[in-house]
Amino acid sequence: MNIAKTYGSWVKSCMEKDPEKAGSRIRRGLHLESFRVRHFSDKRMPKAYRYLNYMAIRLVADALDKPDTLAYINIFAPVEILECFGLTCVSMEALASYLSGFYMEDVLIDRAEALGIAPTLCTYHKNFIGAMDSGILPKPEIGVTTTMVCDGNVNTFRYLQDRFDVPCCVLDIPHSYSPEAEQYVVRQLRELIAALEKKTGRTLDMEELKERLRRENRSKEYYMDFLRKRAVRSYPNTLTLMLFQLFASHLDIGMDWVEKCFRMMDEEIDTYPVSDELRLFWIHVEPYPEPTLRAYLNYGEEVTIAGGDFDLDYTEPLDAEHPLEALARKMICNIYNGDFSRKADAIEKMVQTCKPDGVVEYCHWGCRQSAGGAGLIRERMKKLNVPMLVLDGDAIDRRNTQDGQIRTRFEAFLEVLRQQRKDAE
């Protein structure tokens, strides 16, 4: 029996008549899952990941329990500032993933589409919109989004504001860096801070913000060190864990637990043997519900994901003495922002660090910034002589991915990689 699916059906069964009850079942489900992860998780899961998994679920469950300190954000929002005001940040992408984890995406996406939202919109956004519309998610205190990387953000958060009266802040992030662009963003961050001060009655403690940035720098150092070791050592993971890693690298970055988690990873990897699996570098999101990919990649003995671009979208150390400038720079210079050549250069560099056997780009339904550049990345990889596979699918909506197609392509790719290994030997 699929427990998550059964639980999801139970939630769905009362969604129409009593959305609050359904919402409470979701929160209870998350608490139960965090308990399960802490005490009964898969023995193959490294300790650091067990901690990550637990924290990622527990913090969201707690945050949803307390709407008066809840902020809905998109994954690139400056959480470092929001957290200084005692707000807990939950990204709408993470919520969409969790709801899909409960097998609820079908009704929620259909609901969003029935409102008139385009079927071609990214399913992370549609799932979130459907959930908000159905009343199963609490209304947050504030919404904060950036304009970078994804077109959906401005409209999804505008919907949140317009439909549910949630005050939302849009940070307009220019396409490319210049001192003027940096100042343009800094000014907006100051406006955000002023709005938060007014809202919460608290004054921003600049020292606290600086300390968060220092922790962020240390966390990333641990992670980069981990990745260098990961180039030669095994470290069991799953598609879902790779997504959970976004909590550490984005949503909670700057928090104590994240530094601890990355330090644990960096230390724990030394205890794992030298890797002989086929190693993949993953571009864009991991489609954790996809059956074939789960079968091969969750604790995969033959093939493993050795790194992904999402965790490395900004690797430069932040200048903690000038936190607002540093955060502005972090957003403008994110590899997904700006000309695609920036992303292509960064991926080239990452591929050289992670030394994978092959690269997989997963074109998630509705994500134009990623899919539109697939051809350009392919050209780059050709020059580096690294085989690359482009998979089309949907990381959220199970109905929108054809496992048969994924299986054929993925297995054929593995055949290529095996052959490549054999030739090298």
Partner: protein, 618 residues
């Protein structure tokens, strides 16, 4: 030099001043072969169209803006493809305050400098000022602003994303007055630029005098950047409230709004959602991929929408009774309505006349669908004298002739007895013997009420499209939606599934009722679903269960379609797929309501057409 551009925030006047020859790209392509290869099939269709147009055109340059993710990638791809050409990306801020304008002015300076290097021609500020001043003067001298409608026509506003040219042609053909057009570059440039610009004269003068503080003139570019950003916002801007304000201010005399969305451009579906939620005006959502192939689809939907607007305006409630002037005789009348006039094109000498009594008036309705052509002969009392159906096959003309023969024979009549024929369905314009045509939306509404006067919501699933139609108490169409071009969830889809399961199409429904296990068919794409069915067969799943799964998948799609029109009971299902008891049951389960199915659900559209013919004949 010829430089393409796409977005209203492009400094078109600056390009003109620098001799770059700005030309707005309005793609009208028939395929996306290049774009699908160089980008990805799931990119916005407009962007793909621009790529096709640029690759196959004689442009020297292209100035794009960061208006959306698709255009950003388009720029990357074209830069890579044409390193020697002038391809420039302007970063348009999403905010419009002074800081944003200053930032955008910096972008404009970057453009100037890049163009100077590329062309060797110096930027002359005087030239830009001259162009802007002339444009503003012309705008100031233009009376009115937004014209109100003329007597007897309907007046619509257009919102959403850039429209295909065929939409404007269709509106023109239908004599529809377009009161405003808020799509990407839809507004006339002078109006777009200067209507929100406060005091243009001062802007231009202040810019020429400079700021004084630094001793150097600041130049025109900062003021120009502010004017560009001050245009009515598009949906990518952080604050788009001015769009709603505009609608509030200009809704007087407006009959309806067309919201156009482009496939894989999602921003404007949010605008549609908002308009729909606020429910303040009759709304048509039209989604296209901007290819030439959309023309038929546009025609059907726009025509049906205009019919309902006319009906609403006239207060007749007989929206289906309009003859929209497609027939050879009435087309020349130029009035768009042939009501009350006999159809001379049918050579009606010797034919029954209305003074001969109602039962002597005999009309025909033909519904020319993609899969089947259905027909009805009806007398003046509304009695059906003959009804039937033939496969459409490869030719609309042949199948319509065949159904006509079959019906005449069944009723024991000759062509001379038919006073009037009205055609509906996809092939309605191509039926030579029809005296007029009405869209299948209106015809289904009429037909449904003929069979059951209580029907409020209609689900029609035909061979290649499905639609949900909502009626008001009077039987007028108040809202309708249609599926897109793909055959997901239609009769074609079922045919493909039946073929894969190796059962006759007629058996699919009864078989599925014997299902004992729930099997999920997750895909609605015919091709993907076929492979899913094959893998279920390989897993030894029973045909009955697979068929049931197929039907449930269709029902899910159908109910989602219904939900978009605020459905209310009583429900009726029409179209050939309503003959399938498995689909009917699955839809009823999902809808938690009963569907009324008449004896011959596939002739409902034809009955509606016959009723329209009757109106005209009377």
């Amino acid at each position: 030099m010829k430089t393409g551009y796409v977005c209203k925030y492009t400094p078109v006047e600056l390009l003109e001043a620098m001799g770059a020859g700005p030309v707005r790209i309005d793609p009208e392509v028939t395929n996306f072969n290049e774009a699908d290869t160089r980008m990805h099939p799931n990119m916005c269709s407009y962007t793909k169209g621009v790529l096709e147009t640029y690759v196959n055109g004689d442009y020297d340059g292209l100035v794009l803006t960061t208006c959306c993710d698709s255009v950003r990638r388009l720029c990357d791809v074209l830069k890579d493809l044409y390193p020697g050409k002038f391809i420039f990306l302007l970063d348009v801020p999403r905010k419009t305050d002074g800081h944003a304008a200053a930032l955008y002015a910096g972008q404009l300076r970057g453009l100037v400098s890049a163009l100077e290097t590329y062309t060797g021609r110096k930027y002359e500020e005087g030239e830009l000022r001259r162009i802007l001043s002339a444009q503003w003067k012309a705008e100031e001298d233009t009376p009115g602003g937004y014209e109100t409608q003329q007597q007897g026509t309907v007046s619509v506003g257009i919102v959403g994303a850039r429209c295909p040219r065929s939409l404007y042609r269709e509106l023109d053909r239908k004599d529809v007055h377009v009161q405003f057009d808020l799509t990407c570059t839809g507004m006339e440039r002078g109006q777009s630029l200067w209507q929100g610009a406060g005091r243009p004269e001062e802007i231009l003068r202040a810019a020429s005098e400079g700021c004084g503080a630094c001793g150097e003139a600041e130049g025109l570019l900062p003021a120009y950047a502010a004017v560009l950003l001050g245009q009515l916002p598009c949906m990518r801007m952080a604050d788009s409230r001015a769009r709603a304000d505009f609608l509030d201010a200009h809704s007087s005399g407006l009959d309806g709004v067309i919201c156009h969305t482009v496939k894989f451009c999602d921003s404007y579906s949010f605008e549609y959602e908002k308009l729909r939620r606020e429910n303040r005006i009759q709304l048509l959502k039209l989604e296209t991929d901007l290819t030439a192939q959309c023309e038929g689809q546009i025609s059907t939907r726009v025509e049906a929408f205009i019919e309902s607007l006319h009906a609403q305006k006239d207060g007749t409630g007989e929206n289906g009774g309009e003859d929209t002037g497609r027939g050879p005789a009435s087309a020349e009348s130029g009035t768009g309505s042939a009501r009350g006039s006999a159809d001379t094109a049918q050579g009606g000498t010797g034919a029954a006349r209305k003074e001969n009594g109602m039962d002597r008036i005999i009309v025909m309705g033909i519904d020319s669908g993609s899969t089947s052509t259905n027909g009805v002969i009806m007398d003046g009392t509304g009695r059906i004298l003959a009804a039937g159906s033939v496969r459409t096959g490869a030719g609309t003309i042949d199948s319509s002739a065949a159904i006509r023969e079959q019906l005449l024979q069944e009723a024991g009549l000759t062509q001379a007895d038919i006073l009037r024929t009205v055609a509906t369905g996809y092939g309605r314009a191509a039926i030579p013997f029809a005296g007029g045509s009405v869209t299948e939306i209106s015809c289904h509404a009429r037909g449904a009420r003929y069979f059951d006067p209580h029907v409020m919501t209609i689900l029609d699933i035909g061979g290649q499209d499905s639609k949900a139609i909502r009626l008001n108490e009077k039987g007028e169409v108040t809202d309708f939606v249609m599926n897109d071009k793909c055959a997901a969830g239609t009769g074609r889809f079922l045919e493909a599934m039946a073929r894969t399961l190796e059962v006759e199409i007629g058996e699919l429904g009864p078989i599925s009722l014997q299902s004992t296990e729930e099997v999920e068919i997750s895909s609605m794409c015919t091709v993907f679903a076929e492979s899913e069915v094959i893998s279920l067969i390989a897993q030894n799943k029973k045909k009955a269960d697979i068929a049931h799964g197929v039907h449930r998948a269709i029902a899910g799609k159908a109910v989602a379609l219904l939900n978009r029109v605020d459905p209310a009971p009583a429900y009726m299902m029409t179209g050939g797929v309503a003959r399938n008891p498995g689909v009917v049951k699955a839809v009823e389960e999902k809808l938690h309501a009963e569907l009324f199915i008449c004896e011959q659900p596939d002739i409902v559209g034809a009955v509606g057409a016959a009723l329209c013919a009757l109106d005209a004949a009377k």
